[in-house]
């Protein structure tokens, strides 16, 4: 066992970090917010060219990496708050849904839906809509253009995640053979968890920076214990979530088969990462006080995106039930 990142993984991470910093700095982030969050096609194309969505794809444009590397990259992507259906697009490329080498803008829906309306992100921009039918245990590919007439734009909570609500009967689409829906669901859950970890890390950084610089009562607020304890708890949630994501990614890398152990660790990683991100962003808001409540501050973007990702792929209830089942199986052995 050597859990540390390999040299290649470190380089990959710093490469992606540099890429994102160069192409998606704060100015561009705020410009996207002002524009109301339509998919920035030019940016997407640049990132696609850099291989961001074809990390695991094989073939001429793919990077041929594994889930562990993809998870590391999505930690960085999550921390950058890059908008768009990133995880589903990576999955679509990794599983070659439009044929080998393709890296479409793709979203993924699971049926039957959970509570609430059926929402799709960035619908008009999509090149592929994947539908994971849990009852039939199959993955289908729909043409987004055929779904668009069934949908209407709705006002979403996250200014960077435009949403469309779909009503009526979805077209049947075409069945994707050879895809393992459970595996794809687990991969999407893992990459979303990784994104949340990146977001949670950004929330810790932002809270600590602000707490160092903002003064009240003649000293930085970060010197007050109440503020210190908020920050310490943020880190206390982040660190276990981060290693849980990395461990789950390693287990998924072991082979194409989805073992019960891997399933459970993916569920645990998502559960902890959602918590680290959503509660972390909230605590970050608290540390920022009234400033945090303004549109100007980025805290809102962290919190709202954390909420979106909480509802992407497996949610808290599903993950906790999955884990409880595993605990019972272990305990009854």
């Amino acid at each position: 066992m050597d859990f540390r990142l390999t040299e290649d993984q470190r380089q990959l991470r710093s490469g992606i970090r540099a890429l994102l910093a160069a192409r998606y700095d704060r100015e561009r982030l705020r410009a996207a917010v002002d524009a109301g969050g339509p998919l920035d096609r030019a940016l997407w194309a640049e990132l696609r060219a850099a291989g961001l969505f074809s990390l695991r794809a094989t073939g001429p444009t793919g990077l041929g990496l594994g889930p562990a590397e993809a998870a590391l990259v999505f930690e960085e992507v999550g921390g950058s708050l890059l908008p768009g259906p990133l995880v589903a697009s990576e999955l679509a490329a990794a599983h070659g849904v439009l044929g080998p080498g393709s890296a479409p803008v793709a979203a993924l829906l699971r049926l039957p839906p959970g509570r609430g309306p059926l929402l799709v992100e960035q619908l008009p921009e999509l090149e592929a809509l994947l539908v994971l039918d849990s009852a039939a245990g199959e993955l289908r590919l729909l043409d987004p253009a055929e779904v668009l007439p069934l949908a209407r734009p709705v006002r979403g909570v996250d200014p960077l995640t435009p949403l469309w609500e779909v009503t009526g009967t979805l077209p049947a689409g075409t069945r994707i053979d050879g895809a393992d829906p459970a595996r794809i669901w687990a991969e999407g859950t893992l990459l979303t968890a990784a994104s949340q970890v990146g977001l949670a890390a950004r929330a810790v950084r932002s809270a600590v920076e602000y707490a160092r610089q903002r003064e009240q009562f003649g000293q930085p607020i970060g010197a007050f214990q109440a503020v210190q304890h908020l920050c310490a708890d943020m880190l206390g949630r982040l660190e276990p979530a981060r290693v849980a994501v990395r461990a789950a990614a390693v287990l998924l890398s072991a082979g194409p088969e989805l073992t019960p152990r891997a399933r459970a660790e993916v569920a645990g990683a998502k559960l902890l990462a959602d918590e680290a991100a959503a509660r972390g962003a909230r605590d970050c808001l608290q540390v920022h006080g009234g400033m945090g409540f303004t549109w100007e501050a980025d805290v809102q973007l962290l919190l709202k995106r954390a909420w979106v990702w909480q509802r992407s792929f497996a949610g808290a209830r599903e993950c906790a039930e999955e884990l409880a089942g595993q605990v019972l199986a272990d305990g009854s052995r």
Partner: protein, 403 residues
């Protein structure tokens, strides 16, 4: 990133698993939890078996008497002993998990030769004399005085909450050797023989009803200068080494124990119908995620620290999360037990012992209340994380409070 066993690790795991499979059935039943001499005898005889088989202090360096196993093998040792239900370190806790490692890291060659082998072979038991009535969280306020007299320190004062003091041979003792120096600069780390004239141990009853710890009174006790670990007045630095072992790796096996107890709890909930409560199931699921992640955190920290590394301030993140997770486990168990959770341990244990692997929940719940206090309270861990890991400013004078 690789979580699988190397060939050497797999061989180590197999060997240990075989040995445990042979050895554990030969063990006598454990003694009554309140019978400290009985517990000492039991814990040290287990230690002796480990020693004879070459599994004592696997994580200790060879020159300190360990087998020089890699940190990863140490974790395998913890996984396999926990999985097999082997005895807990118990009375050997302080010696094996933090006094020993401190002496290995900071002691002289002579001290390593003298003190480490008996810890490993279970001949000698240690306790920890750090806290005083006026110095708990604020450990640097300690007042126990040591005055140099020839080749000895003459020590007077008192210590409190000293776990296992009744059955210990040695005590890692913090004393003030320079009362004039700033608080952190006048402290020394000494090895106190518990049978020295002037040492009095008075057991304290805990809220669990047991005599887990004691008060220690020191009345002009002579301790040879050669028993000092580290330089005179440099004891605070040595203490930080001890505490990082205590907070970092010493509790690692408890994470595994927590995960196993959770499995037993689920099985019990399934037997008596509590399992149908979705909220309860989800809380169990969340705790499973936490224990797994905490173990992954241990593996991560060990990988990052490498061989022989002293765990850093990041150990406080682990200590904080682990102690709160353990307490949530026991609160959850109380919900499964229902009114049975109000029975004192021995009766509650009788209530349903169809699963021999099931812990004595009420006893553990009571004992578990100490997790957020002992080895530094959760508030103190948060202070450490904020100031030393995140680098937030130290509290000023005007009302920020606490440090």
């Amino acid at each position: 990133m690789d979580l699988s066993d190397t060939a050497a690790e797999a061989a180590f795991r197999r060997g240990l698993r075989d040995w445990l499979g042979k050895t554990l059935p030969e063990l006598p039943p454990p003694p009554d939890p309140d019978d400290w001499p009985g517990r000492r005898a039991y814990d040290t005889s287990w230690q002796r078996r480990l020693y004879d088989a070459g599994y004592a202090g696997v994580h200790w360096p060879v020159e300190a008497g360990g087998s020089g196993a890699t940190p990863a093998e140490h974790l395998i040792y913890l996984e396999e002993t926990e999985r097999a239900g082997a005895p807990y370190v118990g009375a050997n806790f302080v010696g094996l998990l933090h006094a020993g490692p401190t002496i290995a890291a900071e002691g002289s060659a002579e001290q390593r030769r003298r003190y480490l082998p008996p810890i490993l072979s279970g001949r000698e038991v240690w306790c920890q004399g750090f806290s005083e009535p006026g110095a708990g969280s604020d450990l640097a306020a300690l007042r126990t005085r040591a005055v140099r007299d020839g080749d000895a320190y003459v020590v007077s004062g008192s210590k409190i909450w000293t776990s296992h003091a009744e059955v210990a041979d040695w005590c890692e003792l913090l004393v003030r050797t320079d009362p004039e120096a700033p608080r952190h600069r006048g402290i020394s780390w000494l090895i106190l023989p518990m049978d020295a004239p002037g040492v009095t141990v008075r057991p304290l009853r805990t809220l669990a009803g047991t005599a887990e710890f004691a008060e220690l009174f020191l009345d002009e006790v002579r301790i040879p200068v050669g028993n000092r670990v580290g330089a005179e007045n440099d004891g605070w630095r040595v203490t930080m080494v001890t505490l990082s072992f205590e907070r970092g790796t010493a509790f690692a096996s408890e994470v595994l124990a927590g995960r196993r107890a959770l499995g037993a709890l689920a099985a019990r909930a399934a037997r008596d119908g509590a399992w149908n409560d979705g909220e309860l199931r989800r809380r169990i699921g969340l705790l499973a995620a936490e224990f797994t992640a905490l173990w992954r955190l241990v593996q991560w920290n060990v990988s990052e620290a490498g061989a022989g590394g002293v765990p850093g301030a990041g150990a406080s993140v682990f200590k904080l999360r682990f102690s709160e997770a353990r307490q949530r486990l026991y609160d959850l168990a109380a919900e499964v037990l229902g009114s049975g959770a109000l029975l004192l341990p021995d009766q509650a244990d009788q209530a349903d012992r169809s699963d021999p692997a099931e812990p004595a929940w009420t006893a553990q719940r009571l004992q578990g209340l100490s997790y957020t206090i002992a080895a530094g309270t959760s508030q103190i861990q948060r202070n450490i994380v904020a100031q030393r890991v995140l680098g937030l400013p130290r509290p000023g004078r005007s009302g920020a409070g606490g440090g």
